[in-house]
């Protein structure tokens, strides 16, 4: 069965830790890193990467445009 798999890449230095991407993800992929970036913000990361479908919700809600999304169809 064809399955869609996605992944996100966060520009962690530019992430402001607003967490809007966390709430926007339908499959609960994103978490906030304990570590902070050089500006002092906790940044987003894929805490649950297998669940990502590449739906881009997180990327389009991100006010700072720091998320890139990749998607493949596997069979």
């Amino acid at each position: 069965m064809a399955k869609v798999r996605g992944a996100i890449v966060v520009d962690t230095e530019r992430c402001k830790g607003c967490e809007l991407c966390v709430g926007a993800c339908p499959t609960d992929v994103i978490g906030m890193e304990e570590e902070v970036n050089s500006k002092g913000y906790h940044y987003a990361y894929m805490k649950n990467p297998e669940a990502c479908t590449g739906c881009v919700n997180c990327a389009i809600i991100c006010p700072d445009g720091v998320i890139s999304v990749y998607r493949v169809k596997t069979s």
Binding site: K16, V69, R71
Partner: protein, 258 residues
Amino acid sequence: MAEITLDQIIQPENLVYTKSRIMTDTVLHYCPGCGHGTAHRLLAEVIEELDLQADTIGVAPVGCSVLMYNYMDVDMQEAAHGRAPALATAIKRLMPEKFVFTYQGDGDLAAIGTAETIHACNRGENITILFINNGIYGMTGGQMAPTTLPDMKASTCPYGRDVRMMGNPLKITDIVATLPGSYYVTRQSVHTPGNVRKAKKAIRKAVEYQKRNQGTCFVEIVSNCNSGWKMTPADANQWLEENMLPFYPLGDLKVPEE
């Protein structure tokens, strides 16, 4: 079949979304979660998709977005508080073949710049106006705006907006829609992914319609100001949905007759 690895997914050919090249690499100065960034990005994407970079002249007046010219890789002018539609009027009339937009806050567009807004729209200037309504004066630290809701708190109405004393919130977009010079008038928001998608479609129309030379295209974006509202970004978006949207309902107010 072997599981596909992240490294295999994260390959250039699989890229489905990344920041528009019309956005520069400068870090936005906006507070975390502020809708200004999202609105900028949508406009940038539309300019990129319609291949308008070489034709675009933008105007951003005083307000939190005064430094928009640092983020958009297009020619831009910085205007005095409230006056962007006057600048845009002249730009478009002198160079009718260009794409001209203004990007204005609610204090800017609906208080100090009310006359310029109404008259540009009433003359039917062929410009596109993006109006960010966050119900507050963001840049100056959260004072009451013309759009502040009844009973909503702001630093110059710390006990809430008493409409008998401070006047009523102004639905300027509704007024703009009644003017013969406006062509496309819509109210959108960017607080959920679904709304972002709709807002982008609206912005795209407002940009594309400028080519028709039929009048002013006006997109209000109901947005947040988590700093001014003193909320987390997620709470602010929730509050926006529960309080702003009933007063400023989303949807088209005026659409072209096809």
